[in-house]
C-alpha cells in the first residue's frame, strides 16, 4: 500500500493514541531489513540501523526528489522475538532475535535495492549478510503510542498480554514490534515517542 497516498492510514499506523491500545490492520509494506541475534543492546541495533540507512540512501534521496512534499521520513522499526517466546516475556535478552527495519517507498524494487547496496557498500565496514529487501504484512495488530522512558514499557506489556488480549479473546501472532519515532541523539528520554505493536489473532 502506498501510505503517502493514504494519509489517513499513515496516521492510523504511525500516530496511535497514548491512552489505550487500539487495533489496526497493517497492510503489506516493503522494508529494508537486517537481522540480529542475542541481546539487542543499543550498539548492536545502532550498527544495523546505520548500515540500513547507508544502504538505502540512494533510494531515500530519489524519494525526496521524486516525491517532494509527499515524502515522509520513515522511522526505525525493530521486531523482537525468541524461539521460545517465554524468553521474550522473561526478558532473557541473550536468547532474543531481532530485525531492524525501515520502510521503503512502494515504487522501490529488488533491482533498485541491489543497485543502492552496490553503490553504498564501500561505506559499510562490512555488508551485513542479512541485509535485504522484503515485503510483508503484519495484519491485525494491537498498538499504542508510548512517550517516555523505556522502563515504563513492561507495565504496558503486562497490560496488553495479561488483560487486553485475553479480554478480547486474542493472542499474539508474530514478533513484538517497536517503532522509534525520534532521533535519540536529539530527544531527551522522557520525550521519546515509540509505538509498541503486537500482531494478534483470535484465540481458539
Amino acid at each position: 500500500m502506498d501510505l503517502t497516498k493514504n494519509r489517513k492510514k499513515l496516521m492510523e499506523l504511525y500516530q496511535p493514541g497514548t491512552e489505550e491500545f487500539t487495533l489496526v490492520d497493517v497492510p503489506e509494506l516493503p522494508f529494508a531489513m537486517i537481522d540480529g541475534e542475542g541481546s539487542p543492546d543499543h550498539d548492536a541495533v545502532a550498527d544495523a540501523v546505520k548500515s540500513l540507512f547507508t544502504a538505502i540512501y540512494p533510494i531515500r534521496r530519489e524519494a525526496r526528489e521524486r516525491m517532494g512534499k509527499a515524502f515522509v521520513e520513515p522511522p526505525v522499526e525493530v521486531l523482537y522475538w525468541a524461539d521460545d517466546m517465554r524468553d521474550l516475556a522473561a526478558g532473557k535478552k541473550g536468547n532474543w532475535k531481532w530485525r531492524a527495519l525501515i520502510t521503503l517507498p512502494v515504487w522501490a524494487d529488488e533491482e533498485m535495492f541491489s543497485n543502492a547496496v552496490a553503490q553504498t557498500k564501500g561505506q559499510m565496514d562490512e555488508v551485513p549478510n542479512t541485509l535485504r529487501m522484503e515485503t510483508f504484512s503484519e495484519g491485525q495488530c494491537a498498538q499504542i503510542m508510548h512517550v517516555g522512558q523505556a522502563q515504563d514499557i513492561p507495565a504496558l506489556s503486562e497490560r496488553l498480554y495479561k488483560q487486553i488480549l485475553p479480554q478480547n479473546n486474542l493472542e499474539p501472532a508474530g514478533a513484538y514490534h517497536e517503532i522509534y519515532l525520534d532521533d535519540w541523539s536529539r530527544t531527551s528520554p522522557e520525550r521519546r515517542k515509540m509505538i509498541l505493536r503486537q500482531p494478534v489473532r483470535p484465540k481458539h
Binding site: 547507508t54 540512501y57 561505506q123 532521533d183 541523539s185 530527544t187 528520554p189
Partner: protein, 173 residues
C-alpha cells in the same frame, strides 16, 4: 546572543548535556561547517549562558566538564526568540568572488580567467565534499536535509555563475 550561544543553547534544550557531550555533538553534527565555535570557547560560552540564567548546572559543583547543563524557562524563551529571528532575518554573507570581480581590470586576461577556472574547480570539489558529508551523516532529519539543500543550492548557483562568467569573459573580444 552570539551564534555560538544560540547553538549551545539549542543542544542543551534537546536534553541536559555535559560540556564534553556538547563538544561531541558539535563534532558529530559537523556544526563547525557553518559556524565558528572553538573547543576552548565551549566552556566560556557555557559560563555566559549560565550567568544569563539561560542554563543551569545540574550536578554538584565540580569541574565544568562533569556538570550537566539543562535549559531554564528563561533560556527556552530566549532560544525560541533567537531561533525565530535567525530563521526570519536575512543576513547577507559576502563572497570573496565579489571582491575579486571588482578588481578584474587589475588582472591580466589570462590570470583572471585562470583564477575563475580555479574557483570553478574549488566549487565543484566542495559540492562533492558536501555530498559525501551528507551521505556519511545519514540518517538526517528532514530539517537537516533542508540545511544541506540550502548549502548545495548556494554552491550550484555559484557554479552556474562561474561558468556563465567564464564563458562570457573568454568569448569577449
Amino acid at each position: 546572543m552570539t551564534d555560538a550561544e544560540l547553538l549551545l543553547l539549542g543542544l542543551i534544550a534537546e536534553m541536559p548535556r555535559h560540556g564534553y557531550e556538547l563538544e561531541q555533538m558539535i563534532e558529530q553534527r559537523g556544526m563547525r561547517e557553518w559556524t565558528q565555535i572553538g573547543f576552548s570557547s565551549i566552556y566560556f560560552v557555557l559560563g555566559k549562558l549560565e550567568k544569563a540564567l539561560f542554563v543551569a548546572a545540574e550536578t554538584p559543583a565540580g569541574s565544568k566538564a562533569k556538570k550537566a547543563f539543562s535549559i531554564t524557562p528563561a533560556g527556552r524563551k530566549a532560544l525560541v526568540a533567537q531561533a525565530t529571528e535567525a530563521l526570519s532575518c536575512f543576513r547577507p554573507a559576502y563572497s570573496s568572488a565579489l571582491l575579486g570581480m571588482v578588481h578584474w581590470p587589475v588582472l591580466s586576461r589570462e590570470a583572471a580567467l585562470a583564477a575563475l577556472e580555479d574557483r570553478a574547480d574549488t566549487v565543484s570539489r566542495e559540492i562533492g565534499r558536501l555530498e559525501r558529508v551528507r551521505f556519511e551523516r545519514q540518517p538526517l532529519p528532514d530539517f537537516i536535509e533542508a540545511l544541506f539543500d540550502f548549502s548545495a543550492g548556494q554552491l550550484e548557483a555559484e557554479k552556474t555563475w562561474v561558468a556563465k562568467t567564464l564563458d562570457y569573459m573568454k568569448t569577449k573580444p
